[in-house]
């Protein structure tokens, strides 16, 4: 029977492909075809890879991402990269090079497993843009559940095609750069390759259409040029796989077997919240800036951390976001830690913010407490406040006396204040803060001093 010849396709792969295509604003081809791509390599036992070269499952989409512009990188603007197509294909095995014994080791566990290849148009201009676009793609794939998209584990693999040209002229000869297993190296490799090509051309050389590998130790790209010359893949229609047919609400056959039918409209309805929508929602929900929500999503685990703190504290979201982005994230970056490695837990930060919110401590005292919490010695914020006597003075009378003492003890400074020297008042405030052992709210100090000096 003819049916015995046909191969079989995993339904989940098809659904994942359609959802990814929809999330990337692609046209979904209701009929797509499979092809064989032939080449010899030890990690490809069959000698060919099944792919979709002629008519892929999705095409002509776009991916939108945000970049920081300007010298201070304070303005955010959106950019778009076009998606040429998305195709279903088979994975090859994995090859490892044992240089010690000059042999290649082949792991075939992933051979034949379904892959999605997303092909972008050459709309990206530099390493940073590429990294941002790929990060956005990573977040979309994770939100869809299509892939966990971890680059280090090879769940998301990226090859970069790089070329240079003078403005207005056609695209130059491109090289393909492989072995990019992190966003950081992706950006580095692209920028290196752009510069290498420019230098080469300026020196009168030419760019070869070749494959290059990124050597992350040396920070440069190295030619992988095969002595055998350009590959001829001898594409041919895959004889064992009939066309992949998809349906929508209008074309759905009445008596269809639901197992055999993939309904594009149904999948569209099932699309989860994508990162761009999440960011907008966060801005609305918490009253934070777009830049804030961008960072919350961009740093792995930061959004969850932020939301945990919000849940456990009385403090306003604006205050929470300030501490999460400007203090916590700052400390994490200083020590190159992931959010999951933070010595300060959401609960600890929530407690600290409660103390601040109830005016039990000043903001500078809070910074001190955070510093102490960061040491991760297991003390709570309340314990640290008590140990270091950081509680705000509750005795207004005593504070007034300290202010008076500062005024009486520093006539010159008082003179400067009365002469409208703008820095002088801060000097006085500083003096009072020192005598109060940082246990007074600077705003209150200022208020008292100004009243006493009849300003």
């Amino acid at each position: 029977m003819e049916g015995e010849l046909s191969g079989v396709l995993n339904r989940r792969c098809v659904e994942a492909a359609v959802m990814t295509g929809l999330a990337l604003n692609c046209h979904i081809n209701k009929k797509s075809l499979f092809d064989r791509k032939h080449y010899f390599y030890s990690d490809l036992p069959a000698g060919y890879q099944i792919t979709q070269q002629r008519l892929p499952i999705a095409a002509n989409g776009h991916l939108t991402y945000s970049v920081y512009m300007g010298k201070k990188r304070s303005q955010m603007t959106t950019k778009t990269v076009r998606i040429k197509q998305i195709q279903l294909e088979q994975d090859s095995g994995k090859s490892l090079h044992d240089d010690l014994r000059s042999q290649t080791l082949i792991d075939l566990n992933r051979a034949g497993v379904g892959l999605l290849e997303v092909v972008l148009e050459p709309d990206l201009c530099c390493g940073e843009e590429a990294a941002i676009a790929v990060r956005e793609l990573q977040m979309i794939l994770q939100a869809l559940g299509t892939s966990q998209a971890n680059m280090a584990e090879g769940q998301l693999r990226v090859d970069a095609n790089v070329s240079v040209h003078h403005p207005g002229e056609p695209l130059g000869v491109r090289t393909e750069v492989k072995n990019l297993n992190s966003l950081r190296f992706l950006a580095k490799a692209i920028d290196y390759e752009i510069q290498r090509q420019i230098t080469e051309l300026e020196n009168g050389g030419e760019i070869l259409n070749e494959t290059r590998s990124f050597d992350y130790k040396l920070g440069c790209t190295v030619s992988m040029r095969d002595k055998e010359g350009k590959q001829d893949y001898r594409f041919m229609p895959e004889p064992n796989l009939p066309p992949l047919v998809l349906y929508d609400a209008t074309s759905l056959p009445a008596d269809a077997d639901s197992q055999q039918v993939v309904n594009i409209d149904q999948l569209r309805d099932m699309l989860p919240e994508l990162p761009s929508a999440t960011r907008e929602r966060l801005v609305q929900q918490y009253g934070i800036l777009p830049e804030h929500s961008f960072t919350l999503l961009n740093e792995v685990g930061l959004l969850e951390f932020f939301q945990s703190v919000i849940k456990e504290t009385r403090a306003e979201p604006k205050r929470v976001i300030n501490w999460v982005l400007n203090t916590l994230l700052y400390y994490l970056k200083q020590q190159n830690l992931a959010v999951s490695e933070s010595p300060v837990t959401p609960a600890a930060l929530a407690e600290l913010l409660d103390l601040l919110d109830s005016k039990a401590i000043s903001s500078s005292a809070a910074k001190q407490v955070f510093e102490e919490l960061w040491k991760g010695e297991g003390k709570t914020a309340a314990q640290i406040v008590t140990e270091q006597q950081l509680e705000l003075m509750q005795d207004r009378e005593a504070l007034e006396q300290l202010c008076q003492a500062a005024i009486d003890g520093h006539p010159q400074v008082v003179m400067d204040v009365k002469n409208r020297n703008p820095k002088a008042i801060n000097k006085l405030i500083g003096l009072v803060r020192r005598t109060s052992l940082s246990r007074a709210d600077p705003t209150l100090i200022k208020e008292i001093l100004e009243r006493k000096l009849s300003l």
Binding site: S6, L9, N10, R11, F40, T104, D107, L108, N240, Q259
Partner: protein, 155 residues
């Protein structure tokens, strides 16, 4: 599935003096080929010869060693035989790419139905290191056309 409109035009005039049958190649007469419609140009230089550079390229792609002038001649005859297809006028006829074109690929559910046969699979290989397959070193390099000796074909 075979219901296609075909118009077969036989080239006129037929050169009857030049039929050839080879022992090992395709049997029967080969009709002189006239350019049909949409026919891709095959790389041949006069009298159906395949140039040496192309033979080398084919050998590298398919890991096949033609080995002798006779084998190359056989190849040229096979190409000439297949060229008869150009006699067909396929104007306005969509190519048949697959016998399965009217069917849809069967979708299976995402369940693991088989596996756990590591040992059995590894037994297929002569050389195994810590559950990795060890292939022959590199892509076997082929000697150039000048020093033509039979080269080992890759497995």
């Amino acid at each position: 599935m075979w219901a296609r409109a075909l118009r077969v035009r036989f080239p006129v005039p037929l050169d009857r003096g030049r039929g050839f049958a080879s022992k090992a190649g395709p049997q029967g007469k080969v009709q002189e080929v006239r350019q049909g419609t949409h026919s891709p140009r095959l790389a041949s230089q006069g009298a159906g010869r395949v140039p040496a550079a192309k033979i080398e390229h084919l050998e590298r792609l398919a890991l096949v060693d033609f080995g002798s002038r006779e084998a190359v001649a056989r190849l040229e005859k096979a190409i000439a035989f297949a060229d008869q297809l150009h006699a067909l006028d396929t104007d306005g006829v969509e190519p048949l790419e697959s016998l399965l074109e009217d069917r849809c690929v069967y979708l299976r559910s995402d369940n693991v139905a088989e596996g756990n046969c590591t040992e059995e699979l590894l037994r297929n290989s002569h050389h195994v290191v810590e559950e990795y397959f060890v292939p022959l070193p590199g892509n076997v390099s082929l000697p150039d056309m000048v020093n033509k000796t039979p080269s080992p074909t890759a497995e």
